[in-house]
Subunit: 365 residues, 2 copies
Amino acid sequence: MKIICSRENLLLGVNTVQRAVATKNTMPILQGIKLKTENSSLWFEATDLEIGVRCKIPMEVKEEGEVVLPAKLFSEFVRKLPDSDIIMESIDNNVAIYYNNSNFVINGYNPEEYPEIAYINSAETIEIPAAVFKKMIRQTIFACAVEETRPVFTGILVEVENENMSLVSTDSHRLAYSKVILPNNEKNFKGIIPSKTMQELLRLLDDDEILTVQYNNSKIIFKFNSCQILTRLIDGQFPNYQQVIPQSCNTKLLVNCKNLLDTVERASLLSRDNYLKINNVRFNIEDSILNVNQYSEMGKISEKIEIEKEGENVAISFNAKYIIDVLRTIDTENIVLEASGSYSPCVFRPENEQNYLYLLLPLRN
Amino acid sequence: MKIICSRENLLLGVNTVQRAVATKNTMPILQGIKLKTENSSLWFEATDLEIGVRCKIPMEVKEEGEVVLPAKLFSEFVRKLPDSDIIMESIDNNVAIYYNNSNFVINGYNPEEYPEIAYINSAETIEIPAAVFKKMIRQTIFACAVEETRPVFTGILVEVENENMSLVSTDSHRLAYSKVILPNNEKNFKGIIPSKTMQELLRLLDDDEILTVQYNNSKIIFKFNSCQILTRLIDGQFPNYQQVIPQSCNTKLLVNCKNLLDTVERASLLSRDNYLKINNVRFNIEDSILNVNQYSEMGKISEKIEIEKEGENVAISFNAKYIIDVLRTIDTENIVLEASGSYSPCVFRPENEQNYLYLLLPLRN
């Protein structure tokens, strides 16, 4: 392999694939980035066997070839390169990098031992505007479970049925649901995508791109610009979320999103250091006022927020963190909150937007 | 105590004193910030008994008084306050804070138990332009020892003798020395100031201010704007640094600062993961070239930098970190490097600047 390139192009490739490099894996070669020429381009590739990311950067290729370089050393070195012409030349498994009057050799891995990322080229293709998909990811990803005791909860369920696409996530305490219309789509897909993959899509996708999705029963590949992200789908049965979404309510509020967020954030300061690690916040809804009255050994808070209310008065407690998460995501001025007594699931919706809802179980206290 | 104020003013006070709050101290009250009215102002005060910071912010005072509030809760709460008028009123040791239609009570400490910071009002006063002092701190603070086995190495020696002021720091491997002329000064001072205090001065001083320094045998106070930083001086004998600074050299180089920094940073990538935790970099100075040729199990580097040289050729090794530290501080285009063989201390100076030098012991390898 022999290529001529710029620091900027090397950095672009490294930054794109870097998060897919394995951080804790028993196969040392997975801590590497694979570089492979193809005509007048260089492919950058990394995988931890769960997610694979690759991207293609145009470069002057003098000799075809491939190498696998340790990601940490290679990326730090690229950051410290001068802005001059750079020549990279492989010597067995290693690479010599020439710049100014100097050269740096990085000892690499045997590229034949690097696992092949089995890219799929299925005929099943769905196209989604990137800005739409990114918004849906942001609206749902925070409700994924972090702990891996139940794998299906660590991903986002994506369902496409002709023109309807929905994303759903839950950690069993709360559920986020976002849907959209995909005009003219006739394809169907259902699969649970790991949240790490979704996070990478958020990071790498530009709003004005079109995302192309290809898939089979166990894998999905996202293509955009010169990048490809391949990921396995999470095995298992996603809970039947439709049946837990309440179809009616006894109390319905309209409340200013920012006021509610500020109040909950202040209230949560008082309970933050307690042993349960749960920041309990209690809403007392009385006529046109949402009251928060709480105390701990640190102090106390008493706040009132004006609301519009239909239905019964109610007192209801939540984990403050779960409310803060959704209020930071919603971008409408007001939200609608639907409750049915103190112990039934509560629904949060952006005002006048039917495409999103957030279901939250109250705390019993 | 009863005051009317804005979020902005509370935040200014809290941010100024916050770093002086004790983080690990057996006296819980030292985790507090003391607030005390004085005429139409509120004093904010914090101390960990080593350093004390206080600042005075103008406010509308309705009733005189003082309180001590837990710093973490108070500062986080202030950050989350709305931009409306705020009333703070003490109730015994606690404070009720009123905003919009709401209120928040923070349980405080008994202010009578808060240690008095014994501010000194000595007649001995030195005035220093803040920009000058900040530059000198930046040029020396990185060479202070982090470990506290020898306390004198954890501070910066400040010496004022009439119109001459110097700052010196050393961790026994290297020494940084900066001097300046203080026109018309007739006062003398010599003391070792903890690096934490110097760090706070860097953070809080604005370049266009004049710093007023008052002192006695064991303490020093820095006054600027509406702030005061009081600190004890570090006890002990600072090494006689004058006698270790070489008066002559066998090799003298002129080298571009950025080129040398880039080369050393790249070379240090190769040795970073070794067991000694020392990034060895070796300069081979031959005629008009500074060569760096190194290898490790990760790879190898070969670089050449053009230099101007007087005197003998020499090969000399350093801890790369100690070179990176000084090269990041020096702001001239070129530096002068003075060596005398492979094992004698080496001197780094900014080109054409007689007010700064950095002395570095070579590694023996």
